[in-house]
Amino acid sequence: MSTTYFTKEHEWVRVEGDEGTVGITDYAQKALGDVVFVDLPDAGTEVETGGEIATIESVKAASEIYAPLGGSVSAVNDALNDAPEKVNEDPEGEGWILKMTLSDTAELDSLMDADAYRAYLDTLE
């Protein structure tokens, strides 16, 4: 059983137990444009909530990915090295960025669920 949460930085995290899979939302990939490179961290990297864990680059911009929750990186999506376009094509599926072992699942309460994120997007229109 997994639940997906969202951040105001337009990232999603899908949580199963103490493992979270992190990516960017469809809104974010559209705003970025064609993704040309994803700078992935090394597995084992420790990160605090809100810390920079990856960088996504389009032709004319580079955007940081911030850890939605604290923990350590357990896996990265190596497929993005050869096919960064997956982030555009399937941001919430094959375009996932990394998995992390969460240090404190209680922090999840600070994130938005899908409905709250949709409502948040409406405020940005």
Partner: protein
């Protein structure tokens, strides 16, 4: 004034169109207290005749290297520049173009830089190269910073036979970003072994090839030692013509090769502008400093070139950029590329062979002089000699006899009585038998 096309009538009409009485009104945002109220203490405008006369008078107070026997090197080398080269460089389409940010109307610059990158990669034996940095010294510093980013380490090990100016520039840059530079002692009498140096804190080891004293060494074992410790090997090449005669640093396992491109296609110009060469492995390219054109296609499917990987650069990444560099040495890179194109494979290899042969002849001639000893076993076109008197004095005496005989090591390294007696001597394809005779005759007298 010949460079200003507006007439007074134009100016009046334009002021009227803008709706102001005088140009002073356009400067009204300048605080009154800061406006100049008197003319600056500078001469007024001058025609070509006067400017030429004044600058020629200054130029005449220098001794051009080509007007006397010249054996100077130490990072700047005098080669013959083909006539076609300067003609092409001065084409306004190359000379007066800006950075190729509009690729549709900049394919000339972009393709020549793409070709330049290919030539540099081939010569250095590396996978990729950028479109140039300022000079070898600043490229060396950039390599150290890049190695520190890639390895997330902060110890930079520098060979004692790295050009002292490359070392000094690297130290300056390293200081401001908290990297530690550990430099070996310059010693032209003894070979250096750095294979024990790389450790778990070492970002890179920087060596020079040919080294500051002109020696050639095989860095394969050092590259292996670096890689075993997780460090990078940076090789600095002061004279790219050498690469026509010797194995490339890439073949020895170098991770970053930097170099001075001036000797190919560019005049000495008292040392500036230079041309910083920078080549590395493809997997490191996103940490490489400087602009880089890449190949792509246009909307009609035709091959073309664009500046790419721009997200590394300061105009996008600002304080997170891989370097603060913006302007590079584009026109000098074009000169390099044209010279290499004219030479071609056969020409460059032959030019290198001639340089080496001239240097061997020069070394043999100097070794035959009493009290003069060539210190090198190996060299390309430059070597170190020890003299019975301080080299700085000898060089002055030689200059008094209209011979630019060499560069005293004390110009760079002071306070070492032994090194004070060492002089670097370089020969190139421009060195004639008469030059060599003049040097030996003068040197006999000077020592």
């Amino acid at each position: 004034m010949r460079y200003l096309p507006q007439t007074d009538a134009d100016r009046s009409a334009m002021l009227a169109a803008i709706g102001v009485d005088s140009v002073d009104e356009l400067y009204r945002d300048v605080p009154r207290a800061a406006r100049l109220t008197r003319p600056l203490d500078l001469p007024g405008h001058a025609g070509e005749v006067k400017v030429e006369r004044d600058l020629q008078a200054l130029a005449a107070r220098n001794v051009p290297a080509g007007s006397v026997p010249c054996f100077l090197g130490a990072g700047a080398y005098r080669h013959h520049l083909p006539a076609a080269l300067d003609h092409l460089i001065q084409r306004g389409e190359f000379l007066t173009a800006y950075t190729p940010y509009q690729p549709e109307v900049s394919q000339g610059t972009l393709q020549t830089l793409f070709e330049f990158q290919t030539q540099v990669a081939l010569l250095t034996g590396m996978e990729v190269a950028n479109a140039s940095l300022y000079d070898a010294a600043s490229a060396c510093a950039e390599a150290a910073l890049m190695a520190a980013r890639l390895t997330r380490r902060n110890r930079i090990v520098v060979s004692g036979a790295l050009h002292p100016q490359y070392r000094s520039v690297t130290e300056t840059h390293a200081h401001y970003v908290d990297l530690t530079v550990e430099a070996g002692k310059p010693n032209p009498w003894q070979a250096e072994d750095l294979t024990g140096e790389p450790d778990k804190d070492t970002a890179c080891v920087i060596v020079q090839y040919p080294d500051f004293f002109g020696r050639l060494d095989d860095f394969t074992a050092l590259a292996e030692a670096c890689h075993a410790a997780g460090a990078l090997l940076v090789v600095a090449v002061p004279e790219p013509v050498a690469l026509g005669a010797v194995q490339s640093p890439g073949d020895m396992g170098a991770d970053i090769v930097v170099g001075e491109g001036q000797p190919l296609g560019n005049p000495l110009a008292f040392g500036g502008p230079g041309l910083g060469l920078f080549a590395t492995r493809k997997k490191f390219v996103r940490q490489m400093p400087g602009r880089v054109p890449g190949q792509t296609v246009d909307e009609d499917g035709r091959r073309g070139y664009v500046l790419t990987l721009s997200t590394r650069e300061q105009h996008i990444r600002r304080e997170k950029a891989t370097s603060n560099i913006c302007t590079n040495s584009g026109l000098c890179a074009l000169g390099f590329s044209i010279h290499v194109s004219l030479l071609g494979e056969a020409g460059l290899q032959r030019l290198a062979a001639i340089n080496h042969a001239r240097a061997v002849r020069t070394a043999d001639a100097l070794d035959g002089l009493e009290d003069v000893n060539v210190l090198n076993e190996s060299f390309f076109n430059e070597f170190a000699v020890s003299l019975p008197r301080p080299a700085a004095e000898v060089v002055e005496t030689l200059a008094g006899m209209d011979v630019l005989g060499g560069v005293p090591v004390s110009r760079f390294i002071r306070g070492d009585p032994q090194l004070d007696h060492v002089m670097l001597v370089a020969a190139t394809e421009t060195t004639t038998d008469d030059d060599l005779t003049a040097l030996t005759v003068a040197l006999k007298e000077a020592v």
